[in-house]
Amino acid sequence: MIRLTRDVIDGHALTEEVRRRHCGAVVLFLGTVRDLTGERVTVALDYDAYPAMAEKKMAEIEAETRQRWPVGELILEHRLGHLEVGDVSVAVAISCPHRAQAFDACRHAIDRLKELVPIWKKENWADGSTEWVHPGA
C-alpha cells in the first residue's frame, strides 16, 4: 500500500497494519526532519510533489519489493506540506517471514523512494532564507 498525505504519519498504526501471523519480522523506518545539515540549522521543511507520478513510482517500488522478497505486507507513506524539526516525513513499514528479508526489503524501498519518486524538499534555514534541495544541481 502507498500513500501521500498532508497529515501526521502514524508509525504505530503502520506497524500494526503490516503484522502477519506468518511473518516473524517487522521493520519500520521513519525519516524525520533533522535540525542540522552539515553546519546549517534547519527550522522547517516544505515538501512538494508531482502527485500522480509520485504515486505511480511508489506503487512500482511496492511491486518491485514484493517481487524480490516474500513480503507479508508493505506500506510506503510520504507526507507533504510544512514539517517542523522532529516531524516524520516518510515511513516504510514491512513484514516478512524472516528478519534479513524484512531489513533488506525495507531498505530497498526507502532507497528507491529517495532515488525515483518526484518529491522535493525546501529547507527553511534558521537565518530566514529558503532553498530547494536538488542534489547535484
Binding site: Y47, Y50, V90, H134
Partner: protein, 77 residues
C-alpha cells in the same frame, strides 16, 4: 504544449507550468526550455523529463496530448 514545473524550476519561472512550441521529442522540449528560459538552463541540464508520468530520455517521442513535466533532482524522504 504545456510543461509542468516543480520546486526550484517553478520558483525561477514563477508559474506551475509553461507553454512552449510543440516538440516531437523530449530532447526538443529540453532544447526549447533552455532557449526560452535562460535562467532555467542550468537546472534543465540537471533535470529529468517525464512523459505521462514516466522518466523519458531525450530520444523519447512525445505523443499528442501527453503530460510533460520537468523534474529537478528529487529530494524526498
Amino acid at each position: 504544449m504545456k510543461v509542468l514545473l516543480f520546486a526550484r524550476a517553478r520558483d525561477l519561472v514563477g508559474a506551475d507550468w509553461i507553454d512552449i512550441e510543440s516538440a516531437a521529442t523530449v530532447g526538443e522540449v529540453r532544447a526549447r526550455l533552455k532557449e526560452r528560459y535562460r535562467h532555467l538552463s542550468g537546472l534543465v541540464e540537471k533535470s529529468a523529463l517525464a512523459v505521462n508520468n514516466e522518466f523519458a530520455d531525450d530520444l523519447t517521442p512525445i505523443p499528442a496530448g501527453a503530460e510533460v513535466a520537468l523534474l529537478p533532482p528529487v529530494s524526498g524522504g
